[in-house]
C-alpha cells in the first residue's frame, strides 16, 4: 500500500533532509544555532502565509459549502481529544491532569505538519482543496478548551481557565492564521497578487530553514524520552496513526479529493507544539511539561514528517 517511491519522495525532500540535518547538528553538539529572532520571524511568516493562502481560497469558495466541513472538523477535534484522553488514562496510566494536558495537544493541530502534508500531497495528487486552511484554524482551538476543562475539573481555579481561554483566542497563532485568513478573504486573489512573490513563492524555501531549526529543537526534546516510559512512546505513534487514518476516511466521506483527504488526515493526526503548550502551561501548571513537549515535538512530529504523511497519502489513494 505504502509505495516506496512515495516514501522516497518524502524522505529525500529538502524539507525532511533539513530536519535531519538539525537533529544531527544537535546530536554532534555543534554550535550551529538559529537566532531566536529568526525563529520567531519564520513562524510569523509561515502562519501568516498559510492564512493568506486559505483566505484567497475561501474568497473563491461559496460560503454554503464551508459549513459542513467546518462543523465536522470541530467535532473531529473534540472526538480525537477525548479518544487520546481515554487511551492516556486507561492504557498509558497517566494522572488525570497529565492526560488532559497531553490530549489537548493531540486534539489540536501542528501547522508545520499540515504544510508538509500539503506539499507532498500537491506533488503526488496536485493542489488539494484551498479551504483546508480554514479547517486548520477551526481545528486548533476546541481541543485546547476540552483539554483545559478535563484537567481543571480535578484542579482548583476556574478563573485560571478563563484566562487561558482568552489567551488562546487572542494568541499569536490565532491572530496570524485567523487574521491572515481574513485579510486574504477581504483582499481577494487579485489584490493579493502583489504579495505573492514573498508569501507564496518563497514559502517552501522558508519551510526548509524552519525545519532545520525544528530539527534542533526536536533533538533537544528527545533527551527527555527516557523518563516517559514505553507505553507513552507507543501512544505517540499509535494514536496519531489512528487519528490520521480516521481523518483520511472522514475527509473522503466529506467529498475531498484524495490529496485533500490525506492532508485532512495529517491534520487530525498531528499534535500541536506551539499554541497548545503555552495554553496548557498557563491553564494546567500542575501538568508535567516534559511529557507533552517530548511527545508532540520530539516524537509525533518527526514520526509524521517521515512516515505518517506518506502513510496517509497511501491510505487516501487506497480509499479513493
Amino acid at each position: 500500500m505504502l509505495s516506496l517511491d512515495l516514501l522516497a519522495a518524502n524522505l529525500l525532500s529538502p524539507v525532511v533532509l533539513a530536519f535531519v540535518l538539525g537533529v544531527v547538528a544537535t546530536s554532534l553538539k555543534s554550535d550551529l544555532e538559529v537566532p531566536p529572532a529568526m525563529h520567531s520571524a519564520m513562524s510569523l511568516f509561515l502562519l501568516l502565509a498559510i492564512g493568506f493562502k486559505g483566505g484567497v481560497a475561501v474568497s473563491q469558495a461559496s460560503l454554503s459549502t464551508l459549513w459542513l466541513p467546518l462543523l465536522t472538523t470541530v467535532a473531529a477535534g473534540i472526538a480525537t481529544t477525548l479518544f487520546a484522553y481515554l487511551v492516556l488514562r486507561r492504557f498509558v496510566g497517566l494522572s488525570k491532569i497529565d492526560a488532559a494536558a497531553v490530549s489537548a495537544h493531540y486534539g489540536s493541530v501542528s501547522a508545520v505538519t499540515f504544510i508538509a502534508a500539503r506539499d507532498l500531497s500537491a506533488r503526488v495528487f496536485g493542489e488539494p482543496e484551498g479551504i483546508l486552511v480554514a479547517l486548520l484554524v477551526a481545528l486548533e482551538i476546541p481541543a485546547i478548551l476540552i483539554g483545559l476543562w478535563l484537567g481543571q475539573r480535578s484542579s482548583r481555579g476556574g478563573e485560571r481557565m478563563w484566562l487561558s481561554i482568552r489567551e488562546v483566542l487572542t494568541g499569536r497563532t490565532m491572530m496570524l492564521l485567523g487574521g491572515g485568513l481574513l485579510i486574504g478573504a477581504l483582499a481577494g486573489a487579485e489584490r493579493m497578487q502583489r504579495v505573492t512573490p514573498l508569501f507564496f513563492t518563497l514559502f517552501d524555501g522558508v519551510l526548509v530553514l524552519f525545519l532545520l531549526d525544528l530539527g534542533m529543537a526536536a533533538a533537544k526534546r528527545l533527551k527527555d524520552v527516557r523518563i516517559v516510559g514505553w507505553r507513552f512512546v507507543a501512544f505517540t505513534v499509535a494514536v496519531p496513526i489512528t487519528h490520521g487514518v480516521f481523518g483520511v476516511w472522514l475527509g473522503t466521506a466529506l467529498g475531498f479529493s484524495p490529496g485533500g483527504a490525506a492532508v485532512f488526515g495529517a491534520m487530525l493526526s498531528s499534535a500541536s507544539y506551539i499554541a497548545a503548550p503555552a495554553a496548557v502551561r498557563m491553564g494546567l501548571p500542575e501538568a508535567n511539561p516534559s511529557l507533552y513537549l517530548t511527545a508532540a515535538l520530539g516524537l509525533t512530529f518527526p514520526f509524521n514528517l517521515a512516515l505518517g504523511i506518506p502513510i496517509y497519502l497511501a491510505v487516501a489513494r487506497a480509499l479513493s
Binding site: 531566536p36 525563529h39 520567531s40 513562524s43 499569536r172 529543537a217 507544539y273 506551539i274 503548550p277 503555552a278 502551561r281 498557563m282 501548571p285 500542575e286 511539561p289 516534559s290 513537549l293 515535538l297
Partner: protein
C-alpha cells in the same frame, strides 16, 4: 554608601528570573503594586525545572525592580504564592545605593 557629595540612598533591588510565559503576568502584578518602574532583560537558563514551553520567544526573562524593603517583600510574597509551586522562577534581593531615592519609595 560612598563618601562623596552625592546623596546616595539605600533602596532594595529585587531580581526575578522566570520563564518567558510568566512575563506579562508578573508585569501586570507590578503595575498593580505601586512600583515606580522595572527593567526587563531576555535571558536563558537552567534550573531545577528547566522548562521552556514557548519556543516562540525564547527562554527566560530577568526582571529587576528597585523599591523599598516593604514593596520588595510584598512582591516576593506574591510571586511565592502564585508561581513558586509550578513554574520556573527564582528571585533574589539585595541593597543598592541610588540617587533620588524618593523616586523608588512610594509606599
Amino acid at each position: 554608601m560612598s563618601d562623596s557629595g552625592l546623596a546616595w540612598q539605600q533602596v532594595r533591588l529585587l531580581t526575578i528570573v522566570a520563564e518567558r510565559l510568566l512575563r506579562d503576568r508578573i508585569l501586570r502584578h507590578l503595575d498593580q503594586m505601586s512600583v515606580s518602574g522595572y527593567t526587563v532583560i531576555d535571558s536563558e537558563g537552567r534550573g531545577s525545572r528547566g522548562v521552556m514551553v514557548d519556543e516562540w520567544q525564547g527562554d527566560n526573562v530577568e526582571i529587576q525592580i528597585l523599591a523599598s524593603i516593604e514593596v520588595v517583600d510584598r512582591i516576593a510574597e506574591k510571586m511565592r504564592e502564585r508561581y513558586f509551586e509550578h513554574y520556573s522562577i527564582i528571585l533574589f534581593a539585595q541593597n543598592v545605593d541610588v540617587l533620588r531615592g524618593d523616586k523608588y519609595k512610594r509606599p
